[in-house]
Subunit: 556 residues, 2 copies
C-alpha cells in the first residue's frame, strides 16, 4: 500500500497561480512561495469586504483515541467531494507544527487520498509563518529581559516576568531553565522556560486577529509580567509591538495550497487546542467565506474541546456564524470508547460498539446546543464489518441525525460524495440558529462551570481559593467579559483520560488560571498540560533522510 508521501508525490499539482485564478485572485495579489504555495496579498483581502459570505461547516470529532479518527482527512475528503458534486467549496485548515514531525507523529495534512500538497513543505517550514511567530515571541522575551537589564523603568520585577520563550521543537530540556547566568553582563538571573511555538500567545493572537489593526491592538495588550503592586506590564509598555508587527507582516496573510484533487485550500495558523483555541486563523476563514459558497474547516481534538472553543472563542470574537457541524467517528474508536483495548480492536464486539456510541451521542447533543444541524461521518477502515457500520447508522437514525459512510482515505473525494450530498442538503433545508454557550457578561467562574456542566457533563467544578480570587481580580480589572479556554485532557469528557465513553456526574478540578489578554481569553487549566513536548526514545528524526533525488524519506 502506498504511503501518504508516495501518494502525495504522485499527485499532479496545478500551479498555485491557477488555483488562485479559480478563486478569482489576480496574479499580482498572489505572493508565490515556490510554484505550489502562495500567500494572498493584504491588498486583495481588504477588497473582499462587500461580498456575501458562504456557508461555514465545522468538521469535528468524537474524543480521540489511539485508533485515530481522521478529522483532517475527512475535512479534505468532504471539500473534494463537495467540489465534485458542483458545490463551490474552499477548505480551511490549520498549519502543522514542525517540531512534532521529528518525534512520533507523521504529518498533519490529511492522509491517504485525502491530503493537501505539497505535504512535506506544509509539515516543515511551509511559508515561514511559525518561524515568524517564534521570532516575534522571542524578540518580545529579549526586549523584556533587556528592559530589566537596563533598570526596568516600568517597574516590572524580574521575579514576576511571565513571558517565556518558544521554539518549534520537541525539547524537554527547555521546559524549565534558568537564564542570565555568568555575571551581570549576561542579564538578570531568572527562572524561565520554553514552550513549543503553537503554544505561544502570539500564535493564538495571530489566529484570532481580524486584520492588521486588530493584531496590533492584541499584541499591545499582551501581559509580559507584573510590578510589585501586581499591576500588569504589557507589550505596549515594553514598546515592542511595532517590531513584532514588522516580523509578522507576512505571517498574517493566509496561505493557499491545493488538495490532491486540485481543489483550493487555505492553511493558516495552528494554535494549541488546550491552552489556546485550536482553530485556523480568523483571517483565513473570513477570506474563504468571501471567496466560496461553502467553507469547510476543522477544530482541534474532540468536539468537547475543539468545537466548544471554535464556537465560544473564535466564532464569538470574530462574529462568525457556522451553519453546520460534521462529527467524525470511526468504528474502531467507538469500540475503544466502549472499553476495548487497542489490541482487541480486530474483534467484532457489538457490546463495546454500542457502549462507545454513547460518546458519539453526547457530542451530537452538545453540538445541537449551539443551534447547529449535525451530520455524522463514519470514516471507514477496511477492517470495519457491515454489521458494525449498520449499528452506527442505526444509532444515528435513532437519534435523528443524518449519517454518511466515507471512504475518502482510500478513494479521495469520490469516497465522500454521500457525505457531501447530505451536508449540502442539510444546509439547504435546516437553517442553523447559531448561539454561543454563554453570554459575555456571565462571571468568569460561571462560564467555566457552564462549559463543565453542559459540555463535559460534570456535576461540580472545584477551584482553590487562589483561583477564585484571581478570577475576581481579573473581573475587577476589566477582563470579566472574556470567554474561557479550558485546558483538559482530550481523551475524555471528564478530566481523567481513562474515562472513555460518556462519563457524567464527575468533578472538574481547576488547578490554575491564566490570562491571555492579547488573545482575549482566560485559560482554565485542569490537570497537567504539556506545553513543550519531548522526543521519544527513538525519535522519527533518526529515520528521516533525503533520497538520491533530494526528496525527504522517513518523515511520514
Amino acid at each position: 500500500m502506498a504511503s501518504d508521501i508516495e501518494i502525495a508525490r504522485a499527485a499532479t499539482k496545478q500551479p498555485v497561480t491557477e488555483i488562485g485564478a479559480r478563486l478569482g485572485i489576480p496574479l499580482e495579489d498572489l505572493i508565490p512561495y515556490g510554484h505550489d504555495k502562495a500567500k494572498i496579498a493584504a491588498h486583495y483581502l481588504s477588497g473582499l469586504g462587500a461580498k456575501p459570505d458562504g456557508k461555514l461547516i465545522l468538521v469535528t470529532a468524537i474524543n480521540p483515541t489511539p485508533a485515530g479518527e481522521g478529522k483532517t482527512t475527512t475535512s479534505v475528503g468532504l471539500a473534494d467531494a463537495m467540489n465534485r458534486i458542483g458545490a463551490n467549496t474552499l477548505l480551511c485548515l490549520r498549519e502543522p507544527s514542525l517540531g512534532p514531525c521529528f518525534g512520533m507523529k507523521g504529518g498533519a495534512a490529511g492522509g491517504g487520498h485525502a491530503q493537501v500538497v505539497p505535504m512535506e513543505d506544509i509539515n516543515l517550514h511551509f511559508t515561514g509563518d511559525f518561524h515568524a511567530i517564534t521570532s516575534a515571541h522571542n524578540l518580545l522575551a529579549a526586549m523584556v529581559d533587556n528592559h530589566i537589564h537596563w533598570g526596568a523603568a516600568s517597574g516590572l520585577e524580574a521575579s514576576r516576568v511571565t513571558w517565556r520563550r518558544v521554539l518549534d521543537m520537541n525539547d524537554r530540556n527547555l521546559r524549565s531553565v534558568v537564564t542570565g547566568l555568568g555575571g551581570p553582563a549576561n542579564g538578570a538571573t531568572m527562572e524561565s522556560g520554553f514552550d513549543i511555538t503553537v503554544a505561544s500567545e502570539i500564535m493564538a493572537i495571530l489566529c484570532l486577529a481580524t486584520d492588521a489593526a486588530d493584531l496590533e491592538q492584541r499584541l499591545d495588550r499582551i501581559i509580559v509580567g507584573y510590578r510589585r503592586d501586581r499591576t500588569a506590564v504589557t507589550c505596549a509598555d515594553i514598546k515592542a509591538t511595532g517590531a513584532l508587527m514588522a516580523l509578522l507582516k507576512d505571517a498574517i496573510l493566509p496561505n493557499l495550497v491545493q488538495t490532491l484533487e486540485n481543489n483550493p485550500c487555505l492553511i493558516h495558523g495552528g494554535p494549541f487546542a488546550n491552552i489556546a483555541h485550536g482553530c485556523n486563523s480568523v483571517i483565513a476563514t473570513q477570506t474563504a467565506l468571501k471567496m466560496a459558497d461553502y467553507v469547510v474547516t476543522e477544530a482541534g481534538f474532540g468536539a468537547d474541546l475543539g468545537a466548544e472553543k471554535f464556537f465560544d472563542i473564535k466564532c464569538r470574537q470574530a462574529g462568525l456564524k457556522p451553519d453546520a457541524a460534521v462529527l467524525v467517528a470511526t468504528v474502531k474508536a467507538l469500540k475503544m470508547h466502549g472499553g476495548l483495548a487497542k489490541s482487541e480492536l480486530a474483534s467484532v464486539s457489538y457490546e463495546a460498539l454500542n457502549d462507545g456510541l454513547s460518546n458519539l451521542g453526547r457530542h451530537i447533543e452538545n453540538l445541537q446546543q449551539y443551534g447547529l444541524p449535525v451530520v455524522v461521518a463514519i470514516n471507514r477502515f477496511t477492517s470495519d464489518t457491515e454489521g458494525e457500520i449498520d449499528a452506527v447508522e442505526a444509532y444515528c437514525a435513532k437519534v435523528g441525525v443524518p449519517v454518511a459512510l466515507c471512504t475518502h482515505w482510500a478513494e479521495g473525494g469520490r469516497g465522500a460524495e454521500a457525505l457531501a450530498r447530505i451536508v449540502t442538503e442539510t444546509l439547504a433545508t435546516k437553517p442553523a440558529e447559531f448561539r454561543t454557550l454563554y453570554p459575555d457578561d456571565m462571571p468568569l467562574f460561571d462560564k467555566i462551570e457552564t462549559v463543565a456542566k453542559r459540555i463535559y457533563r460534570a456535576d461540580h467544578v472545584e477551584a482553590p481559593r487562589a483561583v477564585r480570587d484571581q478570577l475576581a481580580r481579573w473581573e475587577a480589572d476589566g477582563f470579566g467579559h472574556l470567554p474561557v479556554c479550558i485546558a483538559k485532557t482530550q481523551y475524555s469528557f471528564s478530566t481523567d483520560p481513562a474515562r472513555v465513553g460518556a462519563p457524567e456526574g464527575h468533578t472538574v478540578r481547576l488547578r490554575e488560571v491564566r490570562l491571555s489578554a492579547g488573545a482575549g481569553f482566560i485559560v482554565a487549566i485542569c490537570g497537567d498540560i504539556m506545553t513543550m513536548p519531548g522526543l521519544p526514545r527513538h525519535p522519527a528524526a533518526e529515520n528521516i533522510h533525503l533520497n538520491d533525488q533530494g526528496l525527504i524519506e522517513g518523515l511520514f
Copy 2:
C-alpha cells in the same frame, strides 16, 4: 536626504523571473519567494558543471572603525558599475542576520544608491534560510539531550556536551543558561547556552559545503560532545544528519535578488567572521562563477580577518582561485587609524591621515602575499576634501597600487565606473597567482603562528599548555590538516582593539581553541569573543512599526 529604505522603495524592481532569465535560468528552475526573490533549483545548479568559470573579485576593507567603510555598498556599486561598462558581472553577498536589526545597526544590504532589494525582506526573514539553520541546530540539540535522557547509549556524558543552541536574536539572557530543571521528566540538568544563529557551526557548514552530499558528510562530522574517555560523539552517532538535511534542503539553494539598478545578486549564507569564516556560501560563489564573466564578492570585517579566512578557509576548501582584491577605505576611517577620535573627524588632519595610511598599506602588502593584484577603492564621503583624497591617491601611487575614487553611495553604479574600469583592466593585464598562506600539512600551532606573524605582524604567539596539548591531540586524531580560523578583535591588527594603524611586534595570546569538525577548521580564540549579542538600552526595535500602507518604518 532620502533614507536607505526610502531609496530602496523608490526603486523600479524587475520581476525576479526576468533577472533570472538574464542569467539564463529557465523559469521552472527558479523557485519564487514573492515576485522579487527566488531560489535557484538544485536541478539547475547540477547542470552548470561544464561551463568555464568567470573571474572572482574579492571586496575587502581596512580595519573597521566607527566611521564606517562601506564594504557591502562598494561591492554593490562595483557590480552595478561593471555591468554599466559592459562587463557581465554577478554580485555574491552574505545574508544579513535578523537579530541585530532590532538592536543598534541598520540593514546589511548596502546603502544609499548602492543597495540590493527588497531590503526589508533581505534583512528580516528573507527566504527562511536562517530559520532553517536555527531549526536544524536546535533539533540536533534536542536529539543530543534526548539521547542523554534515554540513557546515552553512545557513552556521551551530560557534563561533556559541547553542542549549544541558537536563536537569530540579540538576547544576552540566553548566553549562559541551565536547562533540564524541574525533575527527571524534564531531562538531565545541564549547563548550556545560546549563540546567535550566524555563530552556528551549521551556518559555517552550509556556507562551506560544495553540494548536498558534502553538506551531509560535514553534518555527520559535527562533534556534539565527548565520552568519559574524551573520544568524540558526533551528529552521525546521534543519527540526526538525515533529519537536519530534510530541514536544510531548501536553505542550501542560493537566493537571487537584484540591485537598485536591476543587476542580479546572489545572497546566500552569513557565518560570523570571528568564530567562523565570514563569507557567503561556496555554492553561491561557484554558481555565480558559472553564470557570469565576473563575480564580485565580499568577506567580513577587515582584510586581516575576512580576506585571510576567505583565502585560507573558503578558497582552500572549495578550490576557488580569486583573481583580484579590491580594498575599500574611507578618508574618515584612515584618519581614525591615524589617531583621531570620532568627534574630531570633521577636521582636516594630514598628519592623522598619513599615519592612518599605514593601515591601508599593511593590508595591501598582506593581500599581495596571496598572489593577487590589489585595487584600492576610496569610498567618498561628501565631507572629504580634495586634499585628503589627493593624499590617499598619492600614497597608492607610491606603493604602486591602482586607486579609484568612488561615489556609488550617492550616485549608484555610475559613481563606481572608474573603479570598474580599473578592476577590469587589472584583471586583463595582471594575472593572479593565487596561493594560500600556509600548506595543509603544517602543524596547527604553526598555522596560527603563520597568520599571526605574516598577517597580524605579531612577534610572538603565546598559548597555555592546555591549548598546545589540545592542538596536539587533534593532530593525533587526524584533524591536523585543517586550516585555522582565528577569532580576534576586528578593529586592530593586534588583539587590542585600541591599537589602530599598523601595529607590529605585539604578542598574540591564544585563550582557547575549538574544533569545528563539520565546518572543517580549528577556531583559535584570542580575547573575549561574543557569540550572543545583547540589546542596547534603547533598542532600534522600540522605533520600528508598520505604517498605514503596511510598510516597515524605523528599521533602517
